[in-house]
Amino acid sequence: MDRGSLDLFSLVGGRPGPDALRDLLRDVIDPEIGINIVDLGLLYDIRLSGDGVAAIRITLTTPGCPLGGYLTDAIDDTLQDVPSVSSVDVQIVWDPPWDPDKMMSDWAKDQLGSDR
């Protein structure tokens, strides 16, 4: 994992924005698909409160997917070392339902051979 951006945050004592945190979560890979949750479109929302709580909203490809616990822990592991993040709160939601057509990145579609 590239911690360069985190080191920078440490040096300047700043707070990472949502985009920086989102980039870090590209390290969280869905093991069955081999693609990160950001490009799969599973990451719905990410916010960092004033007291350092990172509130993450993700979904799964289906409510029948058993990887919720794995991804929750992987997100927690990824963000726990980020300066100014005191805790991580991951919520899995089904609203709206995941739609690969609209939510997967072009890169992810290309990786999976999508011809859309």
């Binding site: 289906t62 029948g64 997917c65 709206p96 690969p100």
Partner: protein
């Protein structure tokens, strides 16, 4: 993110939920118990198990061992405490069979687990209705029917199509869900592929063909459907893409594709020989290669 249709939040998830290690450990006990009995019927010098296990090790492997793991996966996905009834009942029933519990206690417990698995998929379908969840629920129904026929004393050669339906439809449902990522605008197998694959349960019951007899049409259709299903990944399954990945992703994909190959081999057995391979075992002294045994095997 507009167009909201459901407003549900999943229960909190944990990577290692309570009870999971115990359920897996019990499933492993079933695996070794069933394997030992299988080796015994193959004629290898291993000590035989108890009488019940000797009769039912084929059912134990599918409904007990694999049934427990599939139910465990479904329960972890749903995240509801009551869902543990499915794997807990299945592995308790499996343990009862391995331990030689009297009567039909083991079969009845496994049957309860099958019913609970249907309830889990019904709950998942209520969260997000989808075709793949319907297929998974159909698989669970196949399992429940298998349990019932097992308890009713049917010979496994008569209800092995229901067992096949349980396993094949479970995998088909899961791969159907992932096939949405291929962007083919087709979230289901080619027309006519799944229906024949689903047809085994509809034809369960008729005796398999004996040598010299014509192969029953149901076996031909089912075999063709299963072969078509085994070829379906080449076009629709993301496995053909993820096999180029690394690590655990590639490992899981390789295992899956190997399973598709074995499905094709098994599917070809029916139309070729006129029946599915559930030969009767005669014990170590006289047993030919017997990949499975029947309820009557212990009497011989």
């Amino acid at each position: 993110m507009t167009g909201l249709r459901v407003g549900l939040t999943a229960p909190a998830r944990h990577r290692r939920p309570a009870w999971v290690p115990q359920r897996i450990a019990t499933a492993v006990v079933m695996l070794f118990g069933g394997l030992r009995e299988g080796l015994f019927h193959l004629g290898l010098p291993v000590p035989p198990g108890n009488g019940t296990l000797s009769q039912d090790h084929g059912e134990l492997m599918v409904l007990g061992f694999l049934g427990t793991l599939i139910a465990l996966s479904a329960r972890v996905a749903l995240g509801e405490t009551w869902g543990y009834l499915a794997p807990a009942a299945a592995d308790a029933g499996g343990l009862a069979i391995v331990a030689g519990a009297p009567g039909e206690v083991g079969q009845a417990l496994i049957g309860c687990g099958g019913l609970a698995l249907v309830a889990i998929f019904a709950a998942v379908h209520r969260i997000q209705p989808s075709l793949h969840n319907v297929v998974l629920a159909a698989a669970a129904l196949c399992r429940f029917v298998s349990d019932g026929l097992w308890i009713a004393g049917w010979d496994i050669s008569k209800f092995v199509p229901w067992l096949v339906g349980f396993l094949v439809l479970t995998i088909a449902g899961e791969r159907l869900e992932l096939s949405r990522m291929t962007g083919d605008g087709c979230s289901s197998p080619p027309p006519g592929c799944l229906p024949p694959a689903c047809s085994p349960p509809l034809k369960a019951g008729p005796s398999p063909a004996t040598p010299g007899e014509a192969v029953p049409p149901g076996i031909r259709i089912t075999g063709a459907g299963l072969i078509a299903l085994s070829l379906w990944p080449a076009r629709y399954d993301i496995a053909c893409r993820t096999i180029r990945g690394h690590g655990v992703t590639r490992y899981m994909t390789a295992a899956l594709l190997t399973g598709y190959a074995w499905l094709a081999v098994a599917a070809a057995c029916g139309p070729t020989w006129g029946r599915w391979p559930t030969w009767r075992a005669r014990g170590p002294a006289a047993a030919p290669a017997t990949p499975n045994c029947t309820r009557s095997s212990s009497a011989s």
